[in-house]
Amino acid sequence: MEFGRKGEIDIEYYDIILEGHLNKKRLLMFAEMEVTLLEDGTTKLSGFLDQPALYGFLDYVGNLGLKLISVKKIKKENQGGIKK
C-alpha cells in the first residue's frame, strides 16, 4: 500500500495531522508524502491526494487506531514551493 499520487488531475494538496510520532518503518508506508514530526507530539503528512486516495488513507489510519486530528485542503496560493 502506498499513499500519495503525483501528476494527476483532480487531485488536491492536503495536510493531515495525526496524534503521536510515527516511527521510521511505519513512515515507509507514506513514501510519497512529506512527513514532519511536529514538536507538539503530532505527525503532519502532506501531499497530493485524489478523493479515493484520501479515503483509502483515512481507512488505513482508522484501522490502526491512529487518532486523526485534522485534514485540511491547502489552497493553491498557499502551497508555496510545492510542485506537482
Partner: protein
C-alpha cells in the same frame, strides 16, 4: 467443511486472566433481555470488544453463534453463508432453506435471503445470540444490506451483536430513537483507573505505585491493548525499572502502539522476533505453516511460549491448532518486513495451502504475492471439487480477482467466466469470452469443448450441438452435465420434440439431485413437470410436483423457499384441471417468490396463467389488466415471443367479449404466421387466428389450419384445442358426424387426465356442441358446462365475499386503507412493489371494486378492517 469458514465461525475462547467488567455485562444483559434488540459495540482497535463479548457469553446460558469477518470474507459467497455455518453449529438442521438460496448460481435478492432467514428463525424456540465480529471489514453493499434488512425485521428471539471499528452506515439514529438498539462505545470500554490497577497489580502481579499508574493512565487513556502491552513489558521488573520505563513512555511522542510493541519486542530473543515477523504475513496460522514460513521445525514450541507470554496470540479452534495475532499487533509486526520479503512469504504460504488442498487460501496468498500465474493455476485446481459441491459462486468470485491475461491459457476458467456472465444476462461479454476460447480451441480437451458447447448450443439452438456437448463432458462433472441436459431439453421442446425433451429434463432432474445444487435441481423439475403436461400427463406432473414439495417439507410443515418455486408448475397444472382458486393461490406464491429471488424470466409464465385463471374465475377485468401489463412489459424489453403470447390472449379475451373488430394489419400478420414453421408460439398464434375465423364464420380456412395443427403438433394441449375447435367448426357447418369424431378425440384425451380448461377456455361458443353430445361423457361434460356457466353469470352485488381475503391481503388492505402508497406498503411488509400491486388487484377482484378508495370503503362496509 471449509477450514477457512470453520475458523471464522468459532466462538473465541480467550481464557485470559480476565478482569470482570460488571458494569459492561449489565449493559449487555439489558440489551439481551429486550425482544428483537441489537447491540452495537463500536470502538477502535484494541479496546477489548471481542474479549468482552466472549467473556459475557461464557457466563450465559444462551445458544450462541459467532462469525468473525476476515480478509476476503466480504463476498456474497462467504459472508452470509459463513453466518449460516456458524448458526448451524448450534444445530446442524437449522437454516437449510436459506442455505440453499445462498447456493444459487446467481445472486439471490437481499429480501429473499432475509425473509427466508426470518421464516426459519420462527421455528426456533430458544433465544439465540449471534455475534458478528470485525464488521468494519464488510464493505460490500449487498452484505451490508442483508444485515440492515435483518436489523429492520429482527426476530424477537435473536440477539444480534455487531462488533466494529467504524459505525456501519445504517440508520443508527432511527434505531436509537426506536429504542431497538443498545450501544457500547470506546468511552464505555476503556479501563477505569481501578480496572487498570487491577490488571497490573493482581492479574499481572506487578508492583506499581499510584504515580506511575497515573502517568500510564494518562498516556494510554484507558486503552485496553496499550495497558496490556505495558503490563507485558513490565512483568517481573523492579519498582525502579517500572518507574524508569514510565518516565520514558510519558516523554515519548511516538505513536503509542508502535512504541509499545517495539519495547516488548526489545526484550525478546532474535529467534522469537524473527518468528513473529515472518508469521505476521498470514491472517492465521498453524504450527506446520509456521514451520514453512520460518524454515524451522519447532514452531509448535514457540507458539506455546508466546501463548504463555500472552503475546496477543488468539487461538482459533478448540484443539488450539490454528491461531491469529491481534490485528494491531500483527500490523506493528508487519512493518518490519520489506515488500519483497512479504511477497516471498505469501508465495510460501500459497504453496503450502495448495498442498493441503485449501485452494481458496492458496489463490488468495498467490494473489497477494502478485503471482497471478500461480493464482490462476490453483484456481483451476479447485474448480472440480467446487463444481462437485455445487459451490459455483466461490469460483466465480475468485475469478474476478485474477486479471484476464492470466486466464487465457486456461479454457475451463474462461468457460466459467463466460457462463457466469451469460447467467447474469451479460450476453455481450459472454460472447467475447466464447470467441476468445474458440480462437484458441486447438488447446482445449474434449471435456472443455463439451462445456463450451453447452453455452454455444444455447445461443445457436442447435440440437446436435447440445447432444455433442453432453457426449463430451466428463461423467464426473455433474453440474455441467445438468446444464447441458437442461439446454438440450429446452432446444428439443422448442422444436416440438416433447418426448425427447421430457427425457432430457428427467435426466437433468435426477442428476441435479446428486449435485447438491438445489436450485438447478428445482429448475429441471419445473421444466419436467411443464413438459409432461404438454404431453398430456397432467396426473403424473401433479404427482411429481406434490412429491417434491413434500420432500422439501420438514416435520413442522415448513417448506424451503426454493422448493416453493414448485408452486409455479403446480398452479399451472391446477389451471388445466379447472381449479382456478387453487391455481391462483399457488401462482401468486410462485410469482412473489420468483420476484423476490430476482428471477424475472421465471415469473413471466405464471403471470400469464394467473390472468387465465382470473378470467375463468369470473374476474375478467383483472385478467385483462394483467395481460395489458404484461404486454407493456414485453414491448418495453422487446421480448417478441412473450409479447406474441400475451397478445394472443388479449385477442381471445376481446373475442369472448364479443368484439370481432380487428385491423387489417393484424389479420395479415395472422395469415402470415400460418405459413411459418411450427413452434410453440406460432401454433398458439394459429389457434387464436382460427378462433377469429370461426367467429367470422370462415370455416373452410379455419378447418384447413386446424387440421395442420391437429395432425402435426406433438404438443398434446395444442392438439386438444385444435381437435375441439375442429369439432366446433364442423358442428357449425352442420357436419355432425365429423364434429362428433373430433369431439370424441378431444374428450378421449382429456377425460383420463382431467383436462378441463382447454374446453372452458372456448367459452359459450362450444355450449350447444357439448350439450348435443353430452352422452359421450356426461359427467365430464356437465362439469365443463358448469364451469363455463360460472363465467357467464353476471356477478351480482353480493354482500358476502365469494372468497375470503387471505391474511396477507387483509394486511395489505389495512395499510392501503390507511393511505400508504404501494411502495410504502412493500417496504413495510417486506415484499416487492410489483407483488403489492398483484395482491391489490386480487383484493379488488375479491371485493368487486376497481380502486383502493372503493376497496377501503367496501372493506369497512363488510367489517373487514379493524
Amino acid at each position: 467443511m471449509d477450514v477457512l469458514i470453520n475458523l471464522n465461525s468459532m466462538v473465541p475462547d480467550i481464557s485470559d486472566n480476565l478482569i470482570k467488567r460488571k458494569r459492561l455485562f449489565d449493559l449487555i444483559d439489558a440489551g439481551a433481555n429486550k425482544k428483537g434488540n441489537f447491540l452495537l459495540v463500536s470502538a477502535p482497535a484494541g479496546y477489548g470488544k471481542t474479549t468482552l463479548i466472549s467473556a459475557w457469553l461464557r457466563e450465559q446460558q444462551y445458544s450462541a453463534a459467532w462469525f468473525t469477518a476476515g480478509e476476503h470474507i466480504d463476498h456474497p459467497s462467504s459472508f452470509f453463508p459463513g453466518i449460516i455455518t456458524a448458526l448451524q453449529k448450534i444445530n446442524s438442521d437449522l437454516f437449510k432453506g436459506t442455505e440453499n438460496i445462498l447456493k444459487m448460481p446467481v445472486l439471490p435478492g437481499v429480501e429473499s435471503v432475509v425473509s427466508s432467514f426470518i421464516d426459519e428463525m420462527r421455528f426456533i424456540e430458544e433465544k439465540i445470540v449471534l455475534v458478528l465480529d470485525n464488521f468494519q471489514l464488510i464493505k460490500s453493499k449487498y452484505n451490508k444490506n442483508i444485515i440492515e434488512k435483518l436489523i429492520q425485521f429482527l426476530p424477537e428471539n435473536l440477539f444480534l451483536i455487531i462488533l466494529t471499528r467504524e459505525d456501519p452506515p445504517f440508520m443508527l439514529n432511527r434505531f436509537r430513537i426506536e429504542g431497538s438498539m443498545s450501544e457500547i462505545r470506546a468511552q464505555d470500554l476503556r479501563f477505569s483507573k481501578e480496572e487498570m490497577l487491577l490488571l497490573f497489580n493482581q492479574v499481572m502481579s506487578l508492583d506499581m505505585d499510584n504515580t506511575d499508574l497515573d502517568a500510564i493512565y494518562k498516556k494510554t487513556e484507558g486503552w485496553v491493548s496499550g495497558a496490556r502491552l505495558v503490563g507485558i513489558k513490565l512483568m517481573g521488573k523492579s519498582r525502579q525499572d517500572i518507574h524508569d520505563f514510565v518516565l520514558d513512555l510519558s516523554g515519548s511522542h511516538h505513536f503509542i502502539i508502535d512504541y509499545l510493541v517495539e519495547e516488548v519486542l526489545r526484550d525478546l530473543d532474535e529467534v522469537t522476533k524473527e518468528f513473529l515477523y515472518r508469521t505476521s504475513v498470514v491472517e492465521r496460522f498453524c504450527p506446520e505453516l509456521c514451520n514453512i514460513l520460518t524454515g524451522r521445525d519447532d514452531s509448535s514450541k514457540i507458539l506455546n511460549k508466546l501463548e504463555i507470554m500472552n503475546l496477543f496470540l488468539l487461538p482459533l479452534d478448540d484443539k488450539r491448532e490454528w491461531f491469529r495475532y491481534h490485528q494491531l499487533f500483527r500490523d506493528s509486526l508487519q512493518i518490519n518486513l520489506t515488500q519483497s520479503e512479504k511477497n516471498e512469504l505469501h508465495m510460501k504460504a500459497a504453496d503450502w495451502f495448495a498442498e493441503q488442498k485449501l485452494f481458496v487460501e492458496a489463490v488468495e496468498e498467490a494473489r497477494k504475492a502478485g503471482e497471478f500465474t500461480k493464482a490462476a493455476r490453483y484456481l483451476l485446481e479447485m474448480v472440480p471439487e467446487y463444481l462437485e459441491r455445487g459451490d459455483l459462486k466461490k469460483i466465480l468470485e475468485l475469478l474476478e480477482e485474477v486479471p484476464d491475461n492470466y486466464l487465457k491459457d486456461r479454457p475451463l476458467l474462461l468457460i466459467m467466466k463466460a457462463w457466469s456472465l451469460f447467467a447474469t444476462g451479460n450476453k455481450k461479454d459472454a460472447l467475447f469470452y466464447i470467441d476468445l476460447i474458440t480462437r484458441n480451441s486447438g488447446l482445449i480437451d474434449n471435456c472443455n469443448k463439451g462445456r463450451l458447447m453447452t453455452l454455444t448450443s444455447l445461443i445457436s439452438g442447435d440440437i446436435e450441438e447440445a447432444k455433442q456437448a453432453l457426449k463430451l463432458i466428463d461423467e464426473k462433472d455433474k453440474i455441467f452435465r445438468v446444464n447441458a441436459l437442461m439446454t438440450l431439453g429446452q432446444i428439443q421442446a422448442g422444436y416440438g420434440k416433447l418426448m425427447e425433451s421430457v427425457d432430457s429434463f428427467q435426466q437433468a432432474y435426477y442428476l441435479g439431485r446428486e449435485t447438491g445444487q438445489v436450485f438447478m435441481e428445482i429448475m429441471s423439475l419445473i421444466n419436467l413437470a411443464l413438459k409432461q403436461n404438454q404431453l398430456g400427463e397432467l396426473q403424473e406432473a401433479l404427482t411429481l410436483c406434490r412429491q417434491n414439495i413434500e420432500r422439501f417439507q420438514d416435520s413442522r410443515g415448513y417448506i424451503q423457499p426454493l422448493a416453493r418455486l414448485i408452486f409455479i408448475p403446480l398452479g399451472i397444472l391446477h389451471y388445466y384441471k379447472g381449479d382456478y382458486q387453487k391455481a391462483k393461490k399457488y401462482l401468486i406464491e410462485g410469482i412473489e417468490l420468483s420476484e423476490c429471488l430476482s428471477l424475472v424470466h421465471v415469473s413471466w409464465m405464471p403471470k400469464i396463467y394467473y390472468a387465465l385463471s382470473c378470467y375463468e374465475a369470473g374476474e375478467t377485468e383483472q385478467a385483462q389488466e394483467i395481460i395489458d401489463e404484461l404486454i407493456d412489459f414485453t414491448r418495453k424489453y422487446n421480448l417478441k415471443p412473450n409479447y406474441q403470447w400475451a397478445d394472443n390472449i388479449k385477442v381471445e379475451f376481446s373475442l369472448k367479449a364479443g368484439n370481432l373488430e380487428m385491423g387489417r394489419e393484424k389479420l395479415e400478420f395472422y395469415s402470415e404466421a400460418c405459413k411459418q414453421n411450427f413452434n410453440t408460439i406460432t401454433i398458439q398464434t394459429i389457434l387464436t387466428y382460427c378462433r377469429v375465423l370461426l367467429r367470422k364464420k370462415e370455416y373452410s380456412e379455419a378447418i384447413s389450419q386446424l387440421k395442420k395443427v391437429f395432425d402435426q403438433s406433438s404438443d398434446y394441449l395444442d392438439k386438444l384445442s385444435a381437435g375441439l375447435l375442429l369439432a366446433l367448426a364442423y358442428y357449425n357447418c352442420n357436419e355432425k358426424e365429423k364434429a362428433e369424431n373430433y369431439l370424441v378425440e378431444a374428450m378421449k384425451m382429456s377425460v383420463s387426465q382431467g383436462y378441463i380448461s382447454p374446453f372452458v377456455r372456448e367459452g359459450k361458443s362450444i355450449l350447444s356442441l357439448l350439450k348435443e353430445f353430452r352422452e359421450l361423457s356426461p359427467e365430464m361434460i356437465d362439469k365443463i358446462v358448469s364451469k363455463i356457466k360460472v363465467n357467464l353469470e353476471e356477478k351480482g352485488e353480493t354482500e358476502e365475499l365469494v372468497e375470503p381475503l387471505t391474511e396477507r391481503e387483509r394486511e395489505i388492505l389495512t395499510l392501503a386503507a390507511g393511505g400508504l402508497s404501494n411502495k410504502k406498503i412493500a417496504e413495510k411488509l417486506f415484499i416487492t412493489e410489483g407483488t403489492t400491486k398483484w395482491h391489490l388487484s386480487n383484493i379488488y377482484s375479491k371485493l368487486g371494486v376497481s380502486n383502493r378508495t372503493r376497496a377501503a370503503a367496501k372493506a369497512r362496509e363488510l367489517g373487514l378492517l379493524e
